[in-house]
Amino acid sequence: MAVKVRIPTPLRRITANQGEVDAEGATIGGLIEDLEKKYPGLKERLCDETGAIRRFVNIYINEEDIRFMQGKDTSVKDGDEISIIPAIAGGSEV
């Protein structure tokens, strides 16, 4: 399965400044492994040490947030468009 993955500005340093890259895999987890081979260091930005997608990383298949699908096990089909979008969050000193 070959799909397009949109890379957000903060991660483009890892993808040689490309905002869109090709990846292969049957699931989101598979795509992440493929991307890690092509762009080492990317997986660490997306997944924590247990391999789960980080809380502050949002991943979409077309219009759907994978958190509301099957997470990393969500299957991917040809022509899907994947978007990676880091969350925007913070707070104040208590």
Partner: protein, 132 residues
């Protein structure tokens, strides 16, 4: 340098006041360092000392900016009771090193303070903002 038309500054301050005691948050977009569009976002954190932009809304804004050919120039949020400087959690969760993080402090309710910062790898540097 970031140039923000005054009505957007007024818009951020009124957004901050409307959400108080919670934090407000939003995005300023534009081109060549000048803000042309402001997106008020929903804060989905229940904790009054935190903010997290609604992920679905944020995705819609990313697509809207792309369609309009705009860059995300700044990310704003309010500090209802503390100064206009990034907190520990602000620096830790700053994932956009190219954007200016604007903080609106309502510590002095009569005199809101707005400041902007670049936050790169947890290092904070004040940014120059011109209100036009």
């Amino acid at each position: 340098m970031l140039t923000i038309p005054k009505h957007f500054v007024d818009g951020m301050i009124s957004h901050a006041r409307a959400e108080k005691p919670l934090e407000c948050c939003g995005i300023l977009a534009g081109k060549d360092g000048t803000v042309t569009d402001m997106y008020k976002m929903n804060n989905t954190e229940n904790d009054p000392d935190k903010y997290l932009m609604d992920a679905k809304e944020q995705f819609a804004v990313v697509k809207d900016m792309r369609a309009k050919g705009l860059d995300m120039l700044a990310i704003y949020h309010s500090h209802p009771h503390s100064p206009a400087r990034p907190s520990g959690i602000d620096t830790k969760l700053a994932f956009y090193p190219d954007a200016i993080y604007i903080i609106i402090s309502l510590m002095d309710a009569e005199k809101p303070v707005m400041k902007g910062f670049f936050i790169k790898e947890e290092k904070v540097e004040e940014a120059v903002i011109k209100v036009d």
